[in-house]
Amino acid sequence: MTAALLLIAVLMLGSAAAAMLRRNLIHSALLLVASWTGVAAFYLWAGAEFVAFAQILVYAGAVSMVVLFAVLLTRQSREADLPIEPATVTRTASAFAVAASLAAVIGSAVATARFPAASAEAPAASVKQIGLELMAEHGAALLIVGIVLTVALIGATVIASNDKKRDPEDAP
């Protein structure tokens, strides 16, 4: 069990780290898909299969597509050829320092924390149970999420739509 977890962690963290370091945006996006799939694998490992499939469907299926679309539309493929500026180096170094110190703080906190003992057997949550709970207990939250998603969809369309038509007079 632990070996599988470690394997998943290596896949997840390795591809995430590589994604943040690559200069090629498409590679970064695809590596992130691998990382998200690793997160889904972790959910599967923990026994939350519904969430795992939802994670793949939303992240690998939808978010990654939108990200790739954005990358292609903004056409930043040349970035990999540019020289690295000195400002970038200092920013990267300070970002690394911040992230590393945060990792150290949280890591030590986690390592020293004591949690109540877990139940031995894995919790079972059938899809039906999740559905019933979503609809009954968390109905209000579900509604709000629905509204948020709708507003986000409409907002995204409005923001991204190109309402300014190309000026017909900018041609010779």
């Binding site: 780290a17 996006a29 990200v67 991204a160």
Partner: protein, 103 residues
């Protein structure tokens, strides 16, 4: 070390990788993706506590994650739409150069 500790450490690592990306990279898309990674790290915590917490029978942890995924999707959609709008305006998506709010 219990499995719960291990899971939490992994999520810490993922969170910090996301943070590093969000701080270090100048490309707006990558900053957004770094934030997505941080969200995912939080989700891992939810699932870990659901799995190894005191009351695993309630599906609360999973439901939290589902909501979080939905919100993350909305965030990605709006964020990328904003990036495209910014790009259309100044032909560039470098974070340092998006300094004006006027369009």
């Amino acid at each position: 070390m219990t499995p719960l500790h291990l899971c939490l450490l992994i999520s810490t690592a993922l969170f910090c990788i996301g943070l590093f990306g969000a701080l270090a990279r100048s490309n707006t898309i990558l900053v957004l993706l770094g934030i997505e990674l941080m969200l995912n790290a939080a989700n891992i915590n939810f699932i870990a506590f659901w799995r190894y917490g005191p009351n695993p029978a309630a599906a609360n942890g999973m439901i939290f994650v589902l909501f979080s995924i939905a919100v993350a999707a909305a965030e990605a959609a709006v964020g990328l739409a904003l990036i495209i709008a910014v790009y259309r305006h100044q032909k560039n998506i470098r974070l340092q150069e998006a300094t004006v709010l006027k369009g």
